[in-house]
């Protein structure tokens, strides 16, 4: 049974057991506009909660991707290398990296969908 969490910097992580799929939220893709490039880490790279692990670039600017949790990259979504626009089409379905979480308790500091909606509302 998977559950989705959100960070204040608009990344999401959908977790099933100790495996998670990290991407950017629909709110974030909308705010960025046309995504033209996704800078992703490689399989085997370590990511650390709160640190950047890549970037999503719109025409105008690059936005760092901040890791919501720590762990090891199991896979980068290669579909995004050729077609970064998939993030605009469906940000939730098109995750950026698949990770093995090293500390499940880090999820406790993230928001559930309801709290995240309120967070976005407050940012507007």
């Amino acid at each position: 049974m998977s559950k989705t969490y959100y960070s204040p910097t608009h990344e999401y992580i959908t977790v099933d057991g100790n495996v998670g799929y990290i991407g950017i939220s629909d709110y974030a893709q909308h705010a960025l506009g046309n995504v033209v490039y996704v800078d992703m880490p490689e399989e085997g790279d370590e990511i650390e909660a709160g640190e950047d692990f890549g970037a999503v670039e719109s025409v105008k600017a690059a936005s760092d991707l901040i890791a919501p949790v720590s762990g090891e990259v199991l896979e980068a979504n290669e579909k995004l290398a050729d077609n970064p626009r998939l993030i605009n089409e469906d940000a939730m379905a098109n995750w950026i990296i698949k990770v093995e979480l090293s500390d499940l308790s880090q999820l406790d500091s993230l928001m559930d969908e309801e709290a995240y909606k309120a967070h976005c509302e407050a940012e507007k």
């Binding site: 506009g33 046309n34 033209v36 490039y37 800078d39 970037a55 670039e57 719109s58 025409v59 105008k60 600017a61 690059a62 290398a81 970064p84």
Partner: protein
């Protein structure tokens, strides 16, 4: 944080749902629907930009022509009334104070159109230099709004939708007329690489013209986001990126707009020397051989991984489907097809030196 200025169209932008952002001290629209859509509208049909943030300065008086020629790199002697020249003002070290358009309204009567971000600096500079000339320098930036109507359909939009007679205007000329009794300046100029016009008028007139365009649906509202991608693809410089107080016209490859054969002007010696001996740096185009985008400030490296320059502007092209950049690099490396590298965050990517015009201009001359 300083208070941002607002143009006369600010409320219109907000009502259209534009993404607003600070630019040159103003709260400006970056995009309405999306940069790519707006960019393509200008390349293929017609877009309208609020460029009311631009500064306007009148220089008049018995020595106006002599004075403009002293502070400006291009040569206004012999420019007919209604003619426009692009050029720069240099400081004494040959660095660029600003790049600007000079409109000749009559004998010893000029309009200087300057960048929003430089209005205060430029006006101070111009006034300082004018001390020993019999001229009047008047900053009228706050009295004027400005629209840029750009694209292959710009002429018909101007004529048919706005009822502004302009089809006989030649590229880089202007006319002065009235719109409902209000003074208006219309020039065949722009910053997109496409045919187009710029209209200067009082705030109320600018708002009225904007409203007519919006109602017609014949001109897509365009933000500064696509203004930057459009100008960049055709190799036009932006002050703050390709031009700065410490970048000379020779380094920026703009020496064709510096007329060394006219009487003494500020910065002349530096340009003359650099043209003869070469400048230490040169602005080039780069094609990044990857999808990665090298943006302003990214380092450019040689094959020994030594930093030899930096990127001034970079994008995933819109009319050109490549990752492209302009970069100011050490002159020995500024050779077409030479293989360099750019550093983007933690990684480096191969890049090839190219011309800095990535897309062909379609001016109507």
């Amino acid at each position: 944080m300083e208070d941002l200025k607002k143009t006369c169209l600010h409320e219109r932008h907000v009502a259209l749902g534009a993404q607003m952002s600070p630019f040159g001290g103003f709260d400006m629209p970056i995009q309405y629907k999306g940069i790519i859509e707006e960019h393509n509208a200008v390349r293929e049909a017609c877009g309208v930009f609020d460029v009311s943030h631009m500064g306007e300065v009148f220089v008049t008086g018995p020595q106006a022509e002599k004075f403009v020629n002293y502070i400006f790199t291009n040569d206004v002697a012999g420019l007919p009334d209604g003619g426009i020249l692009y050029g720069m003002m240099m400081n004494h070290d040959g660095g660029v104070v600003d790049d600007l358009l000079v409109y000749k309204r009559g004998e010893n009567n000029f309009l200087l159109v300057i960048n929003a971000s430089n209005i205060d600096k430029d006006v101070d500079w111009i006034k300082l230099q004018s001390a020993s000339f019999d001229v009047t320098v008047e900053n009228v930036s706050e009295n004027y709004g400005e629209l840029a109507v750009q694209g292959p359909e710009a002429e018909s939009v101007m004529e048919e939708i706005l009822g502004i007679h302009c089809k006989d205007l030649v590229f880089y000329t202007f006319l002065e007329s009235e719109y409902d009794g209000q003074h208006m300046i219309v020039s065949r100029t722009g910053y997109t690489g496409e045919d187009g016009f710029e209209i200067y008028a009082d705030h109320d007139t600018i708002v009225r013209l904007w409203d007519i365009l919006m109602e017609s649906g014949k001109a897509v509202p365009c933000g500064l986001g696509c203004r930057d991608t459009l100008r960049f693809e055709v190799g036009l410089p932006l002050y703050g990126d390709e031009l700065a107080d410490d970048i000379t016209p020779v380094e920026a490859c703009l020496s064709m707009f510096v007329k060394l054969d006219k009487p003494e002007f500020i910065g002349r010696d530096v340009v003359a020397r650099q043209k003869a001996e070469g400048a230490p740096r040169k602005l080039v185009g780069l094609e990044i051989l990857d999808r990665a985008i090298a943006r302003h400030g990214c380092e450019v490296l040689n094959d020994k991984d030594e930093v030899i320059g930096y990127v001034t502007t970079g994008y995933r092209g819109i009319s050109v489907d490549k990752s492209i950049a302009a970069a100011l690099i050490a002159t020995p490396y500024a050779v077409k097809d030479s293989e360099l590298k750019v550093r983007v965050r933690r990684k480096t990517f191969p890049a090839r030196v190219t011309a800095k015009k990535f897309y062909k201009k379609s001016y109507k001359k």
